[in-house]
Amino acid sequence: MKSSLVVHGRALSALSTLVVLCGLGCTGAQAQTPIRIGEINSYKAQAAFLDPYRKGMDLALEEVNAAGGVGGRRLEVITRDDGASPGDAVRAAEELLARENVQMLAGGFLSHIGLALGDFARQKKVFFLASEPLTDKLVWENGNRYTFRLRPSTYMQVSMIVPEAARLKKKRWAIVYPNYEYGQSAAATFKTLLKQAQPDVEFVAEQATPLGKVEAGAVVQALSDSHPDAIFNVLFGADLARLVREGTTRELFKDRPVVSLLTGEPEYLDPLRDEAPAGWIVTGYPWYAIDTPAHKAFVTAYQKKFGDYPRLGSIVGYSTIKAIAAGVRAAGSTDTEKLITAFRGLSFDTPFGRAEFRRLDHQSTMGAFVGRTAVEGGRGVMKDFTYLDGARFQPSDEAVRRMRPADAQQ
């Protein structure tokens, strides 16, 4: 419908009338046609994170559409499971574009899939909002005009936690991380930033463990042997549970502060129940104790709809839809170029507060909570936390410009 109008407009051959016509076309002829978003994720492979994520999306969709949609058009999300394979993700993206006529893409949990979809978006000139993948490369080395990212990146999360680590004034650090890009870059960033903050720091042990298969006993023993003053952990999920159990039994954490990435997220903290570690400095999401009005409203609505409490995934899913709604509203269209223009510097609401997509690298400034873990009522919680705005935890603009390809900055 739209393309035929465009052709028509060209026949009339006046550029100004074309724009007007197109605008008219959008509001007039397409008042009922929904805005279709193709969403691709590893739903079954990463169900613990993505189940709540999908619920968050559903909630946001319901809210947006109940309020009349965007510019009078309903928002529709068509989801696809990529089976944790980038090749299948790209095929799903093709299918969504070709068969479902989606106007933009969103999703991605695993970093390599996020990168594959980002590159696909660049090749096909489609707008892509990467909701969750953490890899820094997505907006820096491999960044492109078409790809935006919502969740705070590995770099941002690490740089949020480093000041806390530096405040401990511990000299000897041991690091344990999953042996893939996320773990490696988290460890590398941690080392660089901590060294800047505290030049006399020493890294006495590094354990890179296979993802999902950590030999926790041996790793804990090896970490103990290096007699660190403090530990930086990047393990999550089942690996984290193994580490915590072995570490507690073998007294690794006794009198030793631990700084741990993502551990405060309910997805990873809750399964530990009463064995959740106490006193760790973590990034995460204390949904039970955030009392901003925006967040309270979100939790109430979420619990009412699903009878369950939100996880971080819920926030990401919810905010993805909210960001897209805001972006399409600002663009006044689903045209890719207009979306890009609109999303650059776009300010949107999340349950955490307002955030925006940086013009510089398309990274959103949505932040994270940093606090200390404690055990209360038989489960792990975050205490003494603060919300850190992602805008403050970025490298210098100059450094970002150097990393980001030139054509991504046009």
């Binding site: 394979s85 068969r99 990168l115 354990q207 041996a218 999920g237 159990r245 039994t249 399964p271």
Partner: protein, 638 residues
């Protein structure tokens, strides 16, 4: 690191060995007696962990704070998983024992898919951490270091189970039957033993051992949905390194692997002459490195014997079929139709998108069939060549800046190079040992690609591998990817034709000769190893080409191209199509790709749906899908 801490590390290795042994003992028993490669064994292990968790939840209010509750839960989940195993045997496997060897792998693969989604449905997505065992919660000091009590208990349990199994196998009538069947299956049926009862009970016991191993893991790690694949791969490695059918061998292998891992972790990062090496990173592939070394040195594992190698997969490839006589023109018609398709299907552009995948996997499956069917060599690591081709092309493109066509031409050489090296070692082995050595090589390739950031992009992979502009340009009146679709179609059609032609040529005949009777082949001057090696190289190059075509259709590659999952997919395609006909791999690849694509869109629990459909296919067409076509066309041939 002190000597004391090294000793404690090795002690920890013993605990790990117990777990490994328990997981693999059941697999070894099942394979020994029934010759079924039970791919669902890891899933049974996972079900064991979950069941123990649930049983623990039930029992805790009844037996609060007592260790008895835990052990009762362990017993319960052992029994439940044993019953599940028996059920699988009776409902599914019993019906397909007469199907070609390894066909049962397909069924158990489908079961694994169903069980994984079943666990998700039953227990939800969140990890479930079980309670610690009352009485075994803390640590005991060993050489001044805390050592978990539970690990100490595990160290005892492994040998205890080994001893018990040994007693059962040597002192009972059942055990003697099991051992006899392990050595000679035909003999047992000849003796008039109720074969089916023996098989069912062995399956139950094997599954029960997996359940036991899983239940005993609960105090060490949470029940989670990622447990099945690592468990099955560990179990396979242990069984093969130990030598098929040898329980003491499995124990020894478990010990070796656990100790090597513990040592790698204990060594940490070592500086040697300005060169630093992080040993813990090796734990990513430690077991496969051990397996590769052991198999190269000892072709039948540590304690295995030649007798345990299974007979070849396809001993009855019909001569006429291999000669390619029937149905030349329908194939020609199909290709012509496919060439016209971008214009015919202009209204549904996704058709040509999904068909590009189908073509790539057809060639991949065909190349695997090449060595599996006529070659009689079951490669479990065929993704290595697929991935090496893709990475070869990517590196040519990125490093040299040469045009994409050069990458297309040179990329397959990556697959060739891999096959040249791995094939040389692999053809010296046979049966499951050969299969597992190829798997070991592919996992080693995977781990190198996964960790070599500078060259391969590490776990993130490489992006920006798009076809040259003229191949992405819009063809008038055709679907969007028509140009690349046609390139893929032509490349794949030519490659498949070449493979067929090679199979009809003297070389193909010699390959079949080496499979049918290596002894006869050698005694008429055929260098069987050389022929098989060359076949590996041909297949590796073809798989490499498939990988290159796949890479350019996706624009990006990552280590998952090389991962064991893709090798298994290839196997599934070949088996699904049927190993006895040349069209088999093509039909299998198309069926599997389209099935996954459709199931992924149509069902929430799409893996289970895929599994169920595959089970139906397995039960209805035990000769593979191509068998159906052949039966239709020539009802007289068997």
């Amino acid at each position: 690191m002190t000597l004391a801490s090294l000793l404690v590390q090795l002690l920890g290795g013993l605990a790990g060995a117990s777990t490994l042994f328990l997981t693999s003992a059941g697999l070894s028993l099942i394979f020994g007696v029934t010759r079924v490669v039970n791919f669902a064994h890891g899933s049974l292990f996972m079900v064991g962990v979950y069941t123990a968790w649930t049983a623990g939840q039930w029992l805790r209010p009844i037996l609060p704070g007592s260790a008895g509750g835990f052990w009762l839960a362990v017993l319960l989940s052992t029994v439940v998983v044993a019953a599940l195993g028996a059920l699988l045997e009776v409902l599914i496997l019993r019906r397909i024992y007469r199907a070609p060897e390894l066909f049962q792998l397909l069924a158990t693969f489908a079961v694994a898919l169903v069980l994984r989604d079943g666990c998700l449905w039953l227990w939800g997505p969140e990890d479930l951490l079980g309670p610690r065992v009352p009485g075994l919660t803390g640590a005991i000091p060993v050489l001044g270091m805390p050592f978990p009590r539970y690990d100490a208990a595990l160290i005892a349990i492994g040998p205890l189970v080994l001893g018990l199994l040994h007693l059962v196998l040597t002192r009972t009538r059942f055990g003697i039957l099991v051992r006899a069947a392990t050595q000679d299956r035909e003999m047992v049926s000849a003796l008039g033993v109720a074969e089916s009862r023996l098989f069912t009970s062995v399956f139950a016991i094997g599954a029960g051992l997996a359940g036991l191993a899983g239940a005993l893991q609960l105090p060490r790690e949470p029940a989670n949905l990622g447990l099945d694949l690592p468990a099955i791969s560990d179990a396979f490695v242990v069984v093969v390194v130990g030598g098929l059918g040898s329980l003491p061998g499995a124990f020894l292998a478990a010990l070796l692997i656990s100790l090597v891992k513990a040592a790698c972790i204990a060594l940490g990062t070592v500086e040697l002459g300005g060169f630093s090496f992080a040993f813990p990173r090796l734990t990513l592939v430690a077991e496969f490195l051990v397996m590769a070394i052991v198999l190269v040195m000892r072709p039948y594992g540590l304690m295995g014997r030649a007798a345990a190698a299974p007979r070849s997969l396809a001993t009855t490839l019909p001569a006429e079929n291999a000669a390619g006589a029937p149905g030349r023109w329908p194939w020609g018609l199909l290709v012509v139709g496919l060439i016209l398709l971008p214009w015919l299907a202009a209204g549904s552009p996704y058709t040509t998108v999904v068909l590009v995948d189908v073509f790539c996997f057809s060639l991949f499956a065909m190349s695997l069939f090449f060595i599996m069917g006529p070659g009689g060599m079951h490669s479990f690591g065929h993704a290595a060549y697929f991935g090496l081709g893709a990475y070869g092309a990517a590196i040519v493109l990125k490093a040299s800046g040469w045009p994409m066509l050069w990458a297309l031409l040179l990329g397959p050489l990556g697959g060739f190079a891999g096959a040249l090296i791995f094939g040389w070692f692999s053809v010296r082995l046979s049966g499951v040992y050969l299969a597992m050595l190829t798997l070991a090589f592919s996992q080693i390739v995977w781990s190198i690609i996964y960790q070599w950031d500078d060259l391969t992009g590490g776990s993130n992979g490489l992006t920006g591998l798009w076809p040259a502009p003229w191949l992405s340009a819009q063809v008038p009146g055709a679907t969007a990817n028509a140009a690349y679709y046609l390139l893929t179609l032509i490349c794949v059609a030519i490659a498949v034709l070449v493979l067929r032609r090679v199979l009809d040529a003297p070389f193909g005949l010699a390959l079949r000769a080496g499979r049918d009777s290596p002894q006869r082949a050698e005694s008429i001057g055929i260098n069987v190893h050389a022929v098989q090696w060359a076949a590996f190289c041909v297949a590796g190059t073809a798989a490499g080409l498939a990988g290159v075509l796949y890479a350019f259709s996706k624009g990006s590659i990552s280590p998952d191209l090389v991962h064991v999952g893709r090798s298994i997919d290839g196997l599934v395609m070949v088996l699904l199509g049927g190993v006895e006909a040349l069209a088999g791999p093509l039909i299998g690849a198309a069926a599997f790709t389209l099935l996954q694509d459709t199931a992924g869109r149509s069902f929430d629990y799409w893996r289970a749906a895929t599994g169920v459909v595959m089970l139906l296919i397995v039960l209805v067409f035990p000769q593979g899908l191509a068998g159906l076509f052949r039966m239709r066309r020539r009802p007289s041939t068997t």
